[in-house]
Structure formats: structure tokens, C-alpha cells
């Protein structure tokens, strides 16, 4: 197809504003997915995506659109809205000329709407603003339209109104895409294809998801990865329909996939440029910043014998999840396992669930930690991503913790509430801005409590990590949204809190925290642990300590009674099944010293009320 008839665009929005549902309607209208195969969020095929109703991985699809003046090839990339996967948005943007900005007309601009728009602007993209969910009675399209005009400088007639649910306005949107998004530019030689994602297929090897900027590519040639220098024999090229569908060749301007013939995903980094060995390009396309793990936690097999299976599973999972990092670690309490790096807590949960489901493992995961920079008395600096690995206090001269730029959007009546929450989490206020909707210019001075504000803070990652988002949501009755990005490191008076179970420190329960919070957290933690660790055959003392100072204690009383009274009418099987269940439960616990500790206990930290 003529390059002028191609349009590449992605859909960006705050989480749940309807990106995937909008994609459904486009697939339907263009006849890409037949009515028979249609289902809600048809591109979210992963079990976890369907269960949670969110997009986890970005996806591309090629559509054939019959425009008034002939056919067009539309390549759509749907992006995930969750902040953990925000990096996918910039990858998608780099592969497109246009972006559809979806804003939920019942909610208006949210924190990630802002973040995504700024990203798109940096990429110099054509942005098409779309207000969604106008079928809902509570939608306020006029007000949100004004908000969008004010905040981003769109003109009124640029904004489209749709319902991704019932399809209203979607054909106008397709028309607008063809009109407004510029066609790709590209020369016919040499090949330059940007890898915006990759996956491992047991049959095809490493499959690169690419946007061709220049040249063309087909089966049989040899490719060269410009940054790693790896060569591969191209086994297949094709389009996403949305299933991988082979074609003869892909041409400049198109989005598609390349089965690279490479065995290892590391040879095919996302962000790298593919060219041909025979006729290489001289300059690579601008790539991406490598991903940075934000959160670290220990993953251990509940049954020590599964260590090797866990390693194999991690290797395989990493083939499809480049954001997952891991290295071996040993815990006195938990044995052999891996310290894993994640993009955030959702990512961590997803990795754990996939390992358990897809690889049949029973895992134990420790409380997550961030990575600290530790300056030593000999002038060296070490990075500590596990409290257990913190060097002795007397050798430390300074500790620095990772910092976030945190933006929160909420109705003005919650300013106080948000302020209070963030301050309690050691956040530092930076600035605040009203997002004006229906409020006229004159009214701005005495903005009504209905107006919404953007609040920006700097806050330690460790304080935002755990339950901050839940707290924010519940304290603002669900109205607040947030977004964050990494901002560097900041020096802080941090200490290590140890937990002693039956007088033995349990390394997997240690945590690093601000000095002023040790007392209160230590107390809360032993209280929580008391409810999470079942009674044992003997009394078990629980203590929280900073250094040699015990700051909180609790006792788990000894178990006194666990016996079945009656064997009714000779139903031995039932009795035995009960015992087998109890035995099974015990196996899932971790034995630390003499004490059996259930998996939940290692996540006690996450469940603390603060």
C-alpha cells in the first residue's frame, strides 16, 4: 500500500477511561474482527487482563479502513493505563505519528491524562482529543471539553465526542484520524525498523514488534540488531490482525512483527533498530531509556526443592517481560530464592501470579523494598535493594532513598485531605494548579469547591509504594487520581527495623524506614504478625528491634487444642481429608527455627494501617 495511505496511531488515556473498548469499536467498524469473534476488550487476551479488566501489555493491530477516497491502512497501538506500565506509552508514541487522547467525560482530566499528554507533546505528535462515555447520564461532555481546551489548548471543534460502549461518534473518529494524523515519511532504503516490543514464541523464537521507518523487510534476509550487533535469519514477517498473520513483506511506514531467528530476547532489546546485514543503515533510530526496576522483593519457592523450577520459570517469563529483573539471593529464614526487580506493585503481583499459574509454582514473596544508595565510611557507595543486605550501621556515613515526582488530581474540596496524607508520608509540596472546567475566567479567583486541582509533590518512593494509592482513593471517595515518575535520590535518616520471632531475627521480615517511624511501625508490625502467625505448640514471643534496642513486643500464646472429637458412623475418610488439609497447610508455611510462618506474614508490612 502507498505510504501516504498509512496512518499509525496509539490510544492513550488515564486508566479505565475506555481505550480498549474504543479499540473494540474500531476493530468492529473496520471489519477487522468478525462479529462472531468479538468480545469486550478483545485485545486483552491474557487471563490476568480479562480477570482484572485492565490492559497489562500494549498491543498493536492493523485495520483496513474504507475511506471516502479509498482504502487506508490504520495501525493502532492500545496502551495500558496503569502507572506501572507507563513506559509502554512512550514506546508506543515513538512508533506512531498520532495519538488519540481519550478522556472519560464522567471524570475529566486525571493525573495520567496529564502525564500522557505531556509525553505526546514531547514526541511532537498529532493529538486527537476524544471525550468518551457520553452515553452515561452522569457524563459532563461540555464541562470536560472546556477543561481539555483550557489545560491543553485544544480548540473546541477539534474535540470529538464518542461512546466506546455504543459506538456513537466512532466513525467520525476514524475519519478524523485519516484527515489529521500525517502519513509516515520514509525512504525505501536502507531498512530501519524500531523494536517497540518483543515476545518469545517457542516455535518462532524471539519475535520483534516493529515499526518500519525506512526500507522493507521479508522472510529469508539476514537482519542486524544495530546496538547489540547480533545477526538473525528472518523466519517470518507479518501483521497483527490482531493475531499474528504472516505477509510477504513489510514496508516503510507499517507496523508489524518480525520473527528474528534470534534465540535470546536480550539480543533483541526493545528500543533497538533492526537493519539488514547486507545493506545496513548508518544511523540507528532514537531508542528508549532502559527500564528501571523501582521495587524489589525476594521470591522463594515455598518448597525448597522447587528452586530450580523457579529459576527456569523466571528465565522463561523474562523472555516476555523484559521489565522483570532477578538475581539469586539467600535468606537465612527462607533458603534459596531470587531478588527480583519490578516496575511497581501491580507488576510484582502479576509476575507472582503468572509464575504460580503458568508454571505451577507455590511461591513466597517478601515485603517489597526500594533500592537505597548507601555511602560507606571508606568512601565507596553501594546500592542496597534488600534490608537484609544493609551493611552494619557503624560503617554507613549516609543513606539516600529514591524520590518521586508525584502528581495528584482531585476536586478542590479534598486539598486538605490530600495534603495531610502526603505530608504524613514525608511528601514535600511543590505546586498546585486549578484545572478549570465550566468555571469562567472571572470566577477563577474564588474557585468553587467543585473545581479540580492538580497538586504536585516530591515524596519518597518507599512511602508511596505500599498502600498510598488505596488511602488516597478512600480518603477522597475515589475522586483523586495520581501519577508519578522517578526523580533521583535524597539523603534521609533511615534505620533498619528487625523482627524477632521466638528470639531469632527473621531476615525476610526486616525493613528499612525513616527513624521517626520506627517506633510506631514496629508496634503495628508485631501486632499484625501476632494475628498472621498461627498459634504454635509453644509460646512465641515477637519483637521489633532497631539495632539492639527492642521497641515493641507481643506474644503468641501456645496452641492448646486441635483435635477432632467424633468419628461419625465410621467416616474415616472425612477425618483423614481434614488432616491432609491441615498437613497441606503446614507444608505451605515456612519453618523459621521452630516456628511455622505462613506466607501472608511475610507481607504483613503491606497490610499495615498507617
Amino acid at each position: 500500500m502507498d505510504i501516504d495511505r498509512i496512518r499509525n496511531f496509539c490510544i492513550i488515556a488515564h486508566i479505565d477511561h475506555g481505550k480498549s473498548t474504543l479499540a473494540d469499536r474500531m476493530l468492529e467498524l473496520t471489519g477487522t474482527v468478525s462479529a462472531r469473534d468479538m468480545m469486550e476488550q478483545v485485545m486483552d487476551q491474557m487471563d490476568l487482563e480479562r480477570e482484572r479488566g485492565i490492559t497489562i501489555k500494549g498491543k498493536a493491530v492493523k485495520m483496513n479502513y474504507h475511506g471516502e477516497d479509498g482504502d487506508y491502512q490504520l495501525n493502532l497501538i492500545d496502551t495500558p493505563g496503569h502507572v506501572d506500565f507507563g513506559y509502554e506509552v512512550s514506546r508506543a508514541l515513538a512508533a506512531c505519528e498520532g495519538a488519540i487522547l481519550v478522556v472519560d467525560a464522567t471524570q475529566g482530566i486525571q493525573a495520567q491524562t496529564l502525564a500522557n499528554v505531556y509525553l505526546a507533546m514531547e514526541h511532537d505528535m498529532t493529538i486527537i482529543p476524544v471525550l468518551n462515555k457520553i452515553d452515561l447520564a452522569v457524563a459532563q461532555p461540555q464541562r470536560v471539553s472546556q477543561e481539555v481546551q483550557m489545560a491543553f489548548g485544544f480548540k473546541e471543534d477539534e474535540i470529538l465526542f464518542v461512546s466506546a460502549k455504543d459506538g456513537t461518534g466512532v466513525s467520525q473518529l476514524l475519519k478524523a484520524i485519516v484527515e489529521r494524523v500525517p502519513p509516515p515519511k520514509g525512504v525505501s532504503n536502507p531498512l530501519r525498523a524500531l523494536v517497540f516490543d518483543s515476545a518469545y514464541d517457542p516455535y518462532k523464537g524471539v519475535v520483534a514488534y516493529v515499526r518500519l521507518f525506512d526500507g522493507s523487510i521479508g522472510k529469508g534476509s539476514q537482519l542486524l540488531m544495530m546496538s547489540t550487533g547480533s545477526n538473525g535469519d528472518i523466519l517470518e514477517v507479518g501483521n497483527f490482525l490482531p493475531k499474528l498473520t504472516p505477509v510477504e513483506r513489510l514496508y516503510a511506514g507499517e507496523v508489524g512483527y518480525v520473527a528474528t531467528g534470534l534465540k535470546n530476547v536480550r539480543e533483541c532489546r526493545v528500543g533497538d533498530t533492526i537493519t539488514l546485514t547486507e545493506q545496513p543503515a548508518s544511523e540507528a533510530l532514537p531508542g528508549y531509556e532502559p527500564l528501571k526496576s523501582m521495587v524489589f522483593a525476594g521470591l522463594y519457592p515455598a518448597d525448597g526443592d522447587d528452586y530450580l523450577s523457579l529459576r527456569t520459570a523466571l528465565e522463561k517469563l523474562q523472555l516476555n517481560d523484559a521489565a522483570l529483573g532477578y538475581e539469586p539471593e539467600t535468606s537465612a529464614a527462607l533458603g534459596f530464592g531470587f531478588r527480583c526487580g519490578f516496575l511497581g506493585l501491580l507488576h510484582m503481583e502479576i509476575v507472582q501470579e503468572r509464575l504460580e499459574r503458568e508454571y505451577g509454582l507455590n511461591l513466597l514473596i517478601t515485603a517489597p523494598s526500594v533500592a537505597y544508595q548507601v555511602l560507606m565510611d571508606d568512601g565507596t557507595e553501594v546500592v542496597v535493594d534488600s534490608p537484609a543486605k544493609l551493611p552494619p550501621t557503624q560503617r554507613i556515613t549516609e543513606m539516600r532513598e529514591p524520590l518521586l515526582a508525584l502528581s495528584i488530581v482531585a476536586p478542590a474540596r479534598f486539598i486538605g485531605t490530600v495534603m495531610e496524607l502526603v505530608t504524613a508520608r514525608r511528601g514535600e509540596f511543590r505546586r498546585m494548579e486549578y484545572l478549570q472546567g465550566a468555571v469562567s475566567q472571572e470566577e477563577q479567583g474564588n474557585a468553587s469547591s467543585d473545581a479540580r486541582v492538580l497538586m504536585e509533590y516530591r515524596a519518597p518512593l518507599s512511602e508511596v509504594l505500599m498502600d498510598f494509592y488505596d488511602q488516597l482513593k478512600s480518603r477522597t471517595q475515589g475522586y483523586a487520581s495520581m501519577d508519578y515518575s522517578f526523580q533521583g535520590y535524597q539523603s534521609a535518616p533511615l534505620v533498619k527495623l528487625d523482627l524477632l520471632v521466638n528470639n531469632q531475627p527473621v531476615d525476610a521480615l526486616s525493613l528499612i524506614l525513616h527513624r521517626d517511624k520506627a517506633q510506631q511501625q514496629g508496634k503495628a508490625l508485631v501486632e499484625k504478625l501476632r494475628t498472621l502467625i498461627p498459634r504454635q505448640l509453644f509460646e512465641v514471643p515477637l519483637q521489633a528491634a532497631v539495632g539492639s534496642r527492642i521497641i515493641a513486643r507481643e506474644t503468641i500464646r501456645a496452641l492448646r487444642k486441635n483435635v477432632l472429637a467424633k468419628c461419625y458412623g465410621g467416616d474415616i475418610t472425612r477425618k483423614r481429608k481434614l488432616l491432609e488439609k491441615q498437613a497441606e497447610g503446614k507444608k505451605r508455611m515456612k519453618r523459621v527455627g521452630n516456628v511455622e510462618i505462613p506466607q501472608e506474614a511475610f507481607l504483613a508490612l503491606l497490610k499495615l494501617e498507617r
Binding site: A565, G570, I572, A583
Partner: protein, 406 residues
């Protein structure tokens, strides 16, 4: 060798215990999850016929083995007419070689034990009664949804004695919602003053799906405190010991020589046959149970009159062909060993090392050495003179011991 056995089946047992299930109750108690029903009394006649057929069927199939204990359980056996009981016993005597001194127990509710009914029971051959007294506190009887009062329970006991029963067991429950130590002591003392031959004390378990469990979950009934239940158990152990009862099984006490022979069959892991809907059996290498629904049970035996010819050996095929059998499970030797431990250690006579070795052809320590070492160091088990026992401390923590064998 084992798998050979499996193919050929097991030899027919020479002796079995017989359990007869009566799935009728006047009302259903809120804590009860037994296979029993209220409001299906019209089924009693056809049930009597079906159950009689099942007894005869099994007797023929197994070649009339010896039976020295029969146990009518339920449900409420005392709630069905004497003719039905008579018909079952008659069938049992025709189907099996019931020994002349067989222990024949019937479970009974106090409310059913007045009038002529009870007087006729000894004549039918019932020689042991197990009465569900549960408590002698009227407020707790109400919590349990029992239909009798404490007064009626005591009077029923008198009637039973007048009818000539010389072997009577009483059931009591503890660990009840809002039950105090004083209430428990009072019930125990009053029950002891009646001088029963046997006592079973059961801690209330909140079974999944029962109305009482619901009430507790919704906070309408307070959840019993397990530590208090432990104290109640210890108090009972004390009082019953002083009164001369032997604590022969975790939940059972008896005057010397008055232990329940039928229940000892279970704890010794010996063969038994259960008849009636939902009844469980253990014959040869197989544990199996009948289907639960009385209606379906009756349907399956209703037009089944031909008594089966005796089989040469038992096998899961033979068992599955009995029309009312539901699940059949093969118990291989490792499982049989674990079950033998779980059951045998409940008894105060303990698990004899010789007994184990002669049953399985392997020494106990070669099979469970590690577990026994651990449990001994935890002071839950002790070994004396070639016998392994639960310690006193271990009585209340029996599950912690048993689960280590699975």
C-alpha cells in the same frame, strides 16, 4: 506383591461390625451436618424395606461373616417405629452370623424414650443405649436446638433403667456458645450422679454450611473460645477420673469393661459394613460409602429382590456393583498405616509396636521413625514398654500428631 493382591482382590472378611443408618429426625439441629432429614417420615415404610434388602444382599455377597457388634446410628433411630428396628435386626440375623452376646447399640433422643416403645427394645435384642443428652442446662439445650429439656433427659434415663437397660451411654457437648465453666461442671456432676456405664464428650465443631456456623459468622451467636473448651476438657478428665471412669479414647470414658466394642472396631481399623444412605464401610482394601439421598437409596433397592450369590473375593468391581454404593476408594498399605496410626493413637491402650509389625510386616520405627522422634521431643507422644501413646498434653493436640503421618 501388593499390586498382585489388588488384581485378585481381598479375601472375604470373617468378621465385621455392622452399622445401620437411620436418616430420620423429628427436627434438624442447627449444628448438625449428618446425613439426616426432618419431614421425610412418609418414607419410613419403603425405607425399611430397602434397608432390609440391602442387609440381606450384603450378607449373601460376603458369605455370612460373623457380626459381634451392631450399631443403630443416625439420625434418630429411636424415632422410627419398633417394627422397623425389629425388621432390621431380623434381617441382620438372617444375613450374618450375629453372635449371641453381640453388643447391639441404639442411639436415642431423650424425648423418644417414654412410653411402651422403650420397654420393647430389650426384647428385640437392643442391649445398649446411647442417649443424646448433650447438656443438662436448659438455656444451652435451646442454643443447640434440642427438643428436650434437662428434666426430660433425666426422666428418660430413669425410664431406660426401668426398661432394664444395664449398659447406657450418655453424650454431652462442650465448647458451646456462651457456655461457662460452671455450667459445664454442673452438667457433668449431674450426669455423673446418674451413674451411666459410658460417657462420650464431644466438643462442638462449627461445620461448614450449618445454620449455627452461619449465625457465628454473622455475629449473631458468639464464637466459642477454644482455650475455654480446652479447660472444659481438662475439668471433665479430672471429674470423670475421680468418678472411676476410664478414659479409653480421646472423647470417650467408660466403667471398666463397658467400652463401646463397636466403636473400638473403628479405632482398631478393623472391617465394618455400613448400611443405609450415606453409610460408610471399610472392607478389604476398600473404603466406600452409600449415596446420601434416602429417596434415591430407596429407589435403587426398591425393585431389587434377588439375593446375590456369594463372591469368591472382594474387589472394587464387586463393591461398585452394589446398586447403592457411591464412592469407592482403595486404601493401599501406606495409607492404611497412616490411618491405623491416626485411629489407634486415639486409644489409651496406645499403638503397640508388635501389633503394628505383625499387621504390616514392617516395624513402626522404620516407617515413622522421624515423626515419632519429633513428636516425642514435642512431648506429644511417649513410648513405654513397647507401646506408643499420646501424652496427656497430646490428647488435646491429637491432630498435630496425626497429620504428621499423612
Amino acid at each position: 506383591m501388593d499390586s498382585e493382591n489388588n488384581k485378585e482382590g481381598s479375601a472375604l472378611p470373617a468378621q465385621i461390625a455392622l452399622y445401620i443408618h437411620i436418616p430420620f429426625c423429628q427436627t434438624k439441629c442447627p449444628y448438625c451436618d449428618f446425613n439426616t432429614y426432618a419431614g421425610i417420615e412418609p418414607l419410613i415404610p419403603s425405607y425399611t424395606k430397602a434397608l432390609t434388602t440391602e442387609i440381606l444382599h450384603w450378607g449373601a455377597l460376603l458369605g455370612r461373616p460373623r457380626v459381634s457388634t451392631i450399631f443403630f446410628g443416625g439420625g434418630t433411630p429411636s424415632y422410627v417405629p419398633g417394627q422397623s428396628i425389629a425388621a432390621f435386626l431380623d434381617a441382620a440375623r438372617r444375613a450374618f452370623q450375629v453372635t449371641s452376646d453381640a453388643e447391639v447399640t441404639m442411639e436415642a433422643n431423650p424425648g423418644d424414650l417414654f412410653g411402651e416403645g422403650v420397654a420393647s427394645l430389650p426384647g428385640l435384642g437392643i442391649n445398649r443405649l446411647s442417649i443424646g443428652v448433650q447438656s443438662l442446662d436448659d438455656s444451652l439445650l435451646k442454643v443447640l436446638g434440642r427438643r428436650h429439656s434437662s428434666q426430660e433427659a433425666v426422666e428418660a434415663y430413669g425410664a431406660v433403667r426401668r426398661a432394664g437397660f444395664a449398659n447406657v451411654s450418655l453424650d454431652l457437648m462442650y465448647g458451646l456458645p456462651n457456655q461457662s465453666m460452671e455450667q459445664w461442671r454442673d452438667s457433668l456432676e449431674r450426669v455423673l450422679s446418674l451413674l451411666p456405664e459410658h460417657l462420650s464428650l464431644y466438643c462442638l465443631t462449627l461445620e461448614e454450611g450449618t445454620p449455627m456456623q452461619q449465625q457465628v459468622r454473622l455475629g449473631e451467636t458468639s464464637e466459642p473460645d477454644p482455650d475455654l473448651a480446652a479447660d472444659m476438657y481438662l475439668m471433665a478428665e479430672d471429674l470423670l477420673g475421680q468418678a472411676g471412669y476410664g478414659h479409653y479414647e480421646i472423647s470417650n470414658w467408660a466403667k471398666p469393661g463397658r467400652e463401646s466394642l463397636h466403636n473400638l472396631t473403628y479405632w482398631h481399623n478393623q472391617p465394618y459394613l455400613g448400611v443405609g444412605p450415606g453409610a460408610h464401610s471399610y472392607l478389604g482394601k476398600w473404603r466406600f460409602n452409600n449415596i446420601n439421598s434416602p429417596r434415591e437409596y430407596i429407589g435403587r433397592f426398591g425393585n431389587f429382590s434377588k439375593a446375590e450369590a456369594t463372591v469368591d473375593a472382594l474387589s472394587s468391581e464387586v463393591i461398585s456393583q452394589v446398586p447403592t454404593v457411591g464412592d469407592v476408594e482403595t486404601i493401599e498399605q501406606p495409607m492404611e498405616m497412616a490411618e491405623t496410626m491416626m485411629l489407634g493413637l486415639r486409644l489409651s491402650e496406645g499403638m503397640s509396636l508388635d501389633g503394628f509389625a505383625s499387621r504390616f510386616g514392617r516395624s513402626l520405627s522404620s516407617v515413622y521413625g522421624e515423626q515419632i522422634r519429633e513428636l516425642t521431643s514435642l512431648k506429644l507422644l511417649e513410648q513405654r514398654d513397647g507401646v506408643l501413646y499420646l501424652t496427656e498434653h497430646g490428647h488435646l493436640l491429637g491432630n498435630e500428631v496425626f497429620l504428621r503421618f499423612f
